[in-house]
């Protein structure tokens, strides 16, 4: 029964995908969307039942299907594991997934390939479920690459535009760089543990009978972290995420904000027992997370594309999560993942609503004053913005604050960085809010005429998510964390719980003040001074560096892409030519010798006889006289 249910959970979206792929074209109107939504909702329902079962029984559900791969020292099975961590993830993946599917029914209504959209979206959910449900690293890897694929398909959904296609390709390839790291990590773990099952590895570690020196584990952890970097858009592999905004907005909300990008965090949390053995790697993770958070936030300060701002904000928030992971505070990272999923999904969907109303315009410089026409969108957006800015009692406050608190305890510099990033977050989020919803409309008259609130199918998910963003912090209130207890079985080393002392309250205060500083700055600039960001060419100085994202893409192009192409040209024009030249040279040599042979054959009997005689002489000399 459990097996069947779990398979239903897994396969429901896949069935949705199949139906949409093969029959989607024939389904009329909203039917593909409804089908897709139902499929994911089914998964959600099953997840819910499992969730309730496991949270009460505290016994994970293990499902072993069949043998998949055979390697020298171990076998890999197609097997699934529904424990606390995976169910938690499944809850919000399928939950938010359902909402976003619902949203998309309306949002993608006019697209001619809507059935494909839902097919891909369903496929994504399927792979995400696989990723989360797998009971060993290779199953996770299937999902891992699968979601990458869906991300590729959905970013490039509007395939007529080659910029979008480039973005999709970039996302896939950068993910694959991380995947290579992941694979190498898997290999090393395979050598060390002779298995890729989480439980086996965990048992091996906890029994303390490791044969390999721990640096092997460290390298494996580092490699896995590289994989996580790729998927979760951390330095240095983060540049694909802002570009990925080329996809339809629901995609950005689901894949590039709420679920897929958190796969890295899931993986590290899943293998927390492993990372605990590698403190150096944890340090690296923390530093990378913090730096990413700061850099992404700083770039976000000055972007004008509404989705780009949100994208950098996502990168920045993911950085914070990695900071938490690096500090060993896995529950807190998970907590932030969940709250972030709520408010960031809400923000993206809200921005989608705005873009929908603006007929595809994404530049904030041409928006403004929308709160009057789009009330629901505005309110939900405001709630989420407050949540991300870290104001109590919104969910973001609790999760972010816990991260900063942990950082303060463990590593002060990182706390500073994290706090600065938070202030910046507050600033650019409110900048976004002000530019979009306040003041007067700056778009064309044509656009103004058509401004309207989005239909219910769009606003309903917004409202639900806004509520979740508002109250989501409740799952792990300071001092009384349901989440900590719930996750305790899957986290090997419990981080010591901070008692809420004066330091903690003071830190909270600092955080709140920081958020207000950011909001205040934004208010001063965009409400008081009514300034609107200028044209691209007017930007100068450091702002220009920021506006151009620290030129990272250009640097990557110059350092990696260009050299590869140059190498390709070199191979093509030099080495290939040289090798075939050599081979042909042998043929030419034979031909030249043949021509020489021809000239020797000059037709004169005298010469022939002379050669004959010379031949006789040399043979006789050789045999009889040369001694």
């Amino acid at each position: 029964m459990e097996t069947n249910l779990a398979l239903l959970l897994l396969l429901a979206p896949f069935i949705g995908f199949l139906i949409n792929v093969f029959a989607g074209k024939k389904l009329s109107g909203n039917l593909p969307g409804i089908l897709g939504t139902v499929a994911v909702a089914t998964s959600f329902a099953v997840t819910l039942s499992f969730f309730l079962q496991v949270s009460s029984s505290k016994e994970p559900v293990m499902i072993d299907l069949f043998e998949w791969m055979q390697l020298r020292n171990f076998k890999v099975n197609i097997a699934f594991q529904l424990d606390q961590l995976s169910l938690l993830w499944l809850m919000f993946v399928t939950g938010i997934g359902t909402l976003i599917h619902m949203y998309s029914i309306s949002y993608m209504h006019d697209d001619e390939n809507v059935h494909k959209f839902f097919a891909y979206l369903n496929l994504f959910v399927f792979f995400m479920i696989t990723l989360v449900m797998g009971s060993n690293l290779l199953i996770m890897f299937i999902g891992w690459e699968g979601v990458g694929l869906c991300s590729y398909l959905l970013i490039g959904f509007w395939y007529k535009n080659h910029d979008y296609n480039d973005a999709a390709k970039k996302a896939f390839i950068m993910n694959r760089i991380g995947d290579l790291g992941f694979l190498i990590g898997i290999f090393i773990l395979g050598f060390i543990f002779n298995s890729l099952d989480y439980t086996v590895i965990r048992t091996a570690i906890e029994s303390g009978k490791l044969l390999q020196p721990s640096w092997g584990i460290s390298i494996a952890a580092l490699c896995l972290f590289i994989g996580a970097c790729g998927k979760s858009a951390q330095i240095p592999l983060y540049t694909w995420l802002p570009d990925a905004m080329a996809g339809p907005t629901p995609v950005s909300a689901l894949i590039h904000a709420a679920t897929m990008v958190t796969a890295g965090i899931f993986m590290i949390t899943r293998l927390n027992f492993l990372f605990d053995l590698a403190p150096e790697v944890q340090n690296i993770i923390a530093i990378v997370g913090a730096v990413t958070s700061l850099i992404a936030a700083s770039i976000g300060l000055i972007q004008n594309d509404i989705k780009k701002v949100l994208a950098y904000s996502t990168v920045s928030q993911l950085g914070l999560m990695f900071l938490a992971l690096g500090l060993g505070a896995y529950q807190i990272a998970v907590f932030h993942v969940i709250t972030h999923a709520f408010f960031k999904a809400c923000l993206f969907l809200g921005s989608g609503s705005v873009i929908h109303a603006m007929h595809g315009e994404q530049d904030m410089r041409y928006m403004g004053g929308l709160r009057k026409v789009m009330k629901v969108t505005f309110i939900t957006f405001l709630i989420s913005t407050l949540a991300i800015s870290g104001l109590p009692p919104f969910s973001g406050f609790f999760s972010k604050d816990e991260i900063l608190m942990t950082a303060f305890h463990d590593n002060k510099p990182l706390w500073v960085i994290g706090s600065v990033a938070s202030i910046m977050t507050a600033f650019y989020m409110f900048r976004l809010l002000y530019l979009t919803f306040y003041k007067d409309f700056r778009g064309t008259e044509e656009q103004k005429k058509h401004l309207h609130e989005s239909p219910g199918l769009i606003t309903f998910p917004l409202i639900v998510l806004a509520i979740l963003a508002l109250v989501g912090g409740a799952i792990s209130l300071p001092g009384n964390s349901w989440l900590n207890e719930y996750l305790a079985p899957v986290i090997a080393k419990q981080s010591e719980h901070h008692h809420m002392g004066t330091t903690e309250y003071m830190l909270m205060g600092v955080a709140i003040i920081g958020a207000f500083i950011g909001i205040g700055l934004a208010y001063a600039k965009y409400i008081k001074q009514s300034s609107v960001p200028g044209q691209d060419s007017e930007i100068t100085g450091f702002a220009k560096v920021l506006y151009n994202k620290f030129y990272v893409d250009e640097i990557y192009t110059a350092l990696i892409v260009k050299p590869i192409y140059a190498l390709g040209s070199f191979f093509k024009n030099a080495i290939e030519v040289a090798i075939s030249g050599f081979i042909f040279g042998l043929g030419k040599l034979a031909n030249v010798l043949g021509t020489e042979g021809k000239t020797l054959q000059n037709g004169s009997i005298g010469f022939y006889l002379f050669a004959f005689v010379l031949g006789i002489c040399s043979i006789i000399v050789y045999i009889f006289l040369a001694k």
């Binding site: 005298g606 002379f610 005689v613 010379l614 006789i616 002489c617 006789i620 009889f624 006289l625």
Partner: protein, 167 residues
């Protein structure tokens, strides 16, 4: 006897050279006949009279007549051979020297020590003996030679037969 041998040898080699060096083919032919006669002299020295006679009949009498006949037929009795290039002559001389040197050196090297040549006193070259050997022991090659001659005959006919298509 040695003197006779040397004189004969000198004549043989000399006429052979003259055969080659004379510009007029008729002269060459006549020198060659002389050369053949001197070789017949050698045969006589060996006491091989029958062979000497056959030699003269076949070579001087048949082969050389055939050649002379051809020369006459083609009206070649004039010195119309074009001047050969120096290179050709030089090459020929070099080849002569080389071959002569190499072969002689080889034979000198390969020369077996001849310890007192013994004569058995047996008859081995009278016509009677030769006839017996030729027609008993060498009967098959003797018959086979007829095939050879037949071939050359057919060949000569084939090459010079006038074609008249009759079919």
């Amino acid at each position: 006897m040695l003197t006779v041998f040397y004189i004969l040898s000198a004549i043989t080699l000399g006429t052979a050279f003259l055969t080659i060096l004379s510009k007029n083919p008729i002269h060459s032919a006549i020198y060659l006949v002389l050369c053949f006669f001197s070789i017949a002299g050698h045969y006589l020295l060996f006491n091989a009279q029958f062979l000497a006679i056959v030699h003269i009949i076949v070579y001087s009498g048949a082969i050389m007549i055939l050649m002379l006949f051809t020369i006459m037929l083609m009206n070649l009795n004039k010195e119309d051979e074009q001047n050969k290039s120096v290179l050709t002559r030089f090459a020929a001389v070099i080849a002569l020297g080389l071959v002569a040197f190499v072969l002689l050196a080889t034979f000198i090297k390969a020369q077996p020590v001849i310890e007192g040549y013994q004569v058995s006193g047996q008859d081995y070259q009278s016509i009677k003996v030769l006839g017996k050997v030729l027609l008993n022991e060498y009967m098959v090659p003797f018959e086979f030679a007829s095939v050879l001659l037949l071939v050359s005959m057919i060949g000569a006919v084939l090459l010079s037969k006038k074609e008249h298509i009759n079919s």
